[in-house]
């Protein structure tokens, strides 16, 4: 970590939970763990790709970084010098003995975007902009291109009023448009051109970081290539950093220096682009690669085919969150009682006959059935192929007592992100060995 470049953005254990509200009084009945402890850094002039399927929390991270959503927990630091980053890492390792107290205080008061307010935050706005996926929805239909692109300049009073239009034209020219497009409405443009307008707007304040939320997903391949080229050129000219959010692996392979793969609110794999594509460590990354038609020879291979239920993000599983769909799961993946219930989709009558569940923790439970027959049936089902072999092995104890079934698993800690041989981080029990 001893390079001389600044770290533009550093996410530290970022959590974002959304409350689930119910009823007239809007009582909070649960929390959706959209982002659950995510950490990564973006260096100056670097592109970090955030990859995952819908609902994995990648868009939420983009919104947190751009300040649209307050964090539930964790910190996002902006523009850290190498010394500051070292100090911060040091501080996190040895909380008790603070060496550079003044430096930590300075970092917390000036760089922590979840803590700064007022003018400092206003300043951060200038340095972090965003480009959205849907250019129909991200450009106001009633504003002219001139208004849209010059608006950030006006808000931040970057230049005098008579300079606004020349500056706007300059920006439009940088994204491959021209002054003839100044006084037109967004709906008069094609999708690719509208995305160029969005990019021009994001560039207006000369930011250091741009969050790109699926910027090319709505575009055709030939136009996508134009936009990707443009983004690359702009990055080179201006030394921009990108947080590139997408589900498209071939786009991210082309664009990103580093990749962060997310699943169910957690990072499952992170590392350099080449490493991850050459030698993916996590089974989920492998599955994503295998399922992408432009990367894999056989999209219908077994590796690409993920079966099994996706856990409810309101009750994220302990242990590895991917184990329910993992083709290479093992006994030590952190199986829990909920997994049995998730796996009972072929036996809904059995689920219906569950009267109560007494669950002191995730790994032990007492299920009470309406009849003792159902209880015995459950035990039988657990012995069949409907339950993955590794999960069956992980069951420490299953015993039937009348209408009750006591089940217990070996408790497992949350799987940590660990360094694998090729230098990338991966959250998998297989990599831990």
């Amino acid at each position: 970590m001893s390079n001389s470049k600044n770290t533009i953005l550093s996410l530290r254990n970022v959590k974002k939970h959304f409350p689930i509200k119910e009823g007239v009084f809007q009582n909070v009945v649960g929390q959706v763990h959209a982002v659950d402890g995510v950490s990564f850094d973006i260096g100056a002039g670097e592109t970090v790709g955030l990859v995952g399927e819908s609902g994995c929390g990648k868009t939420t991270i983009g919104r947190c970084v751009s300040g649209l959503e307050p964090l539930t927990d964790g910190d996002i630091f902006f523009d850290l010098t190498p010394e500051k980053l070292v100090a911060l890492e040091d501080f996190e390792k040895h909380q008790s003995e603070i060496k550079n107290k003044y430096l930590i205080d300075e970092i917390q008061s000036t760089s922590n975007i979840s803590k700064i307010e007022g003018d400092d935050f206003y300043n951060y706005r200038r340095n972090c902009q965003m480009v959205f996926q849907d250019s129909f929805s991200s450009l106001s239909p009633r504003q002219l291109v001139s208004d849209i692109v010059s608006r950030p300049l006006k808000i931040h009073k970057v230049c005098a009023d008579n300079e606004l239009i020349p500056r706007t034209i300059e920006l439009l020219e940088q994204v491959g448009l021209g002054k003839q497009h100044l006084y037109r409405f967004p709906h008069q443009f094609s999708g690719g051109q509208r995305q160029r307008i969005s990019i021009a707007r994001a560039l207006a304040l000369d930011p250091k970081l741009i969050v790109l939320d699926e910027p090319t997903s709505a575009l055709d391949v030939s136009v996508q290539a134009q936009i990707l080229n443009l983004l690359h050129d702009l990055q080179k000219q201006r030394g921009l950093s990108y947080l590139f959010i997408t589900h498209n692996l071939s786009v991210i392979r082309h664009m990103a220096d580093k990749i962060v793969v997310m699943y169910l609110g957690k990072v499952v794999e992170a590392g350099k682009t080449e490493d991850i594509f050459a030698n993916p460590q996590h089974p989920y990354t492998k599955a994503l690669l295998a399922a992408s038609p432009d990367l894999s020879e056989d999209v219908m291979s077994d590796m690409a085919a993920l079966d099994g239920p996706i856990p409810d993000p309101a009750r994220p599983p302990q242990g590895c969150s991917f184990r329910t769909r993992c083709p290479v799961s093992r006994t030590e993946c952190g199986w829990e009682v909920d997994d049995i219930i998730r796996r009972l989709e072929h036996h809904e009558t059995l689920i219906d006959s569950i009267k109560s569940v007494h669950q002191p923790d995730a790994f032990n439970a007492k299920l009470t059935f309406e009849t003792s027959l159902s209880a015995i049936e459950l035990k039988d089902v657990v012995g069949t192929k409907d339950i993955p072999k590794q999960m069956r092995k992980a069951i420490k104890k299953i015993e039937v007592k009348g209408n009750d079934v006591n089940i217990s698993f070996d408790p497992v800690q949350t799987v940590p992100l660990v360094q694998s041989e090729n230098g990338s981080l991966s959250r998998c029990v297989l990599a831990n060995k």
Binding site: V24, Q26, R63, S66, G67, L68, Y122, R125, R126, C128, Q129, M130, F132, D134, F136, S137, S138, L139, S140, P141, R142, Q143, L144, S146, D147, R151, P152, I155, H156, I165, G178, K179, Q180, L182, Y183, R184, F185, H187, S198, R201, L205
Partner: protein, 310 residues
């Protein structure tokens, strides 16, 4: 080839300072779309005629002194049939000139509808915006109040309020404002909630625009068209409800107002004196019809589904 020529044309024109022209062109385009519908044009013609009548009332008939909004009484010529010299549409039982009532009634109606609509729109837009933007409990409370108002039929509600306040023209305005604002609050809230989730609002937040700026520049302009359509429709409806209230006697007697005139002439209908009620009644009908036609035409053009995409 044609297309290239067009593009070249755009390049040649000096487009500095032409934002105004572009906006004007777009508004004219919308207008021409509105005018493409013959029934809308018919409605618009009637509206313009009515407005002309209201504006030029003092020119068309000599204003009554001291208060031109009071009906002039010609007791000698009471109960004259239409086409009587001096009373082209006849007179009422009490010698009021029906033609004068019809002309000055347009003014009263215009006054009524403009006052009520502008007050209700302002009130409804403010309350609806607050509910939509603040959300949560505030929204919940405001919307329950709106529900209470909406659960009572418009006319009966207005009638009750006007009756409590006592018969006067001002009280009719007040009663109508109290009844009609809820619709706008509802429409505005729904629109604000819809628009506030648009990504251009997020984009404005990221730029650092203040909440007020976002409201005024992004949310309000993009959520206003349904309010405008409803306002146009209500320009007609309010006169209809207002006339009903006047007809029942909740307005001041003797005022030049269509509802009052219909009520005054009603007694004569059985005796064959149809004119005193028919002409003002026809005016109420035409007024309401015209604004409804225009409102429907506007709705077709300003429909939010057709405006964002080509």
């Amino acid at each position: 080839m044609k297309k290239n020529a067009q593009n070249a044309g755009i390049d040649e024109v000096n487009f500095y300072d032409s934002a105004f022209n572009v906006r004007l062109k777009r508004n004219l385009e919308i207008l021409s779309n509105v005018l493409a519908n013959p029934t809308t044009v018919l409605g618009l013609i009637i509206v313009i005629l009515m407005l002309a009548m209201a504006i030029f009332a003092p020119v068309i008939t000599e204003p009554n002194t001291p208060d031109p909004y009071q009906m002039p009484r010609d007791w000698k010529a009471a109960r004259s049939a239409p086409l009587t010299p001096g009373h082209i549409l006849g007179t009422t039982n009490r010698g009021g000139d029906v033609f004068y009532g019809v002309v000055w009634g347009a003014r009263t109606s215009l006054k009524l509808s403009i006052l009520v609509v502008s007050l209700t729109v302002v009130l409804g837009v403010i309350i609806g915006s607050v509910a939509g933007i603040v959300g949560g409990k505030v929204d919940e409370i405001l919307m329950r109040i709106v529900d209470v108002f909406l659960s009572i039929p418009e006319l009966i509600f207005a009638l009750a309020i006007a009756a409590i306040l006592g018969p006067s023209f001002t009280n009719i305005i007040l009663a109508l404002v109290i009844v009609f604002w809820v619709k706008y609050a509802r429409i505005m809230r729904a629109q604000v909630i819809r628009i506030k989730q648009r990504e251009y609002v997020d984009a404005a937040k990221i730029m650092g625009a203040s909440k007020l700026q976002i409201y005024l520049k992004d949310i309000l302009p993009n959520s206003f068209s349904p309010v405008m359509v409803q306002a146009t429709l209500d320009m007609g409806n309010i006169v209809l409800v207002g006339a009903t209230l006047s007809f029942i006697g909740l307005s001041e007697a003797g005022i030049a107002e269509w509802g009052v005139l219909v009520s005054e002439g009603q007694a004569g209908i059985s005796a064959g004196r149809w004119w005193a009620s028919t002409f003002p009644g026809l005016m109420v009908f035409l007024w309401a019809l015209a604004f409804n036609l225009v409102g429907d035409g506007l709705r077709d053009v300003l429909d939010p589904r057709t405006e964002t995409k080509r």
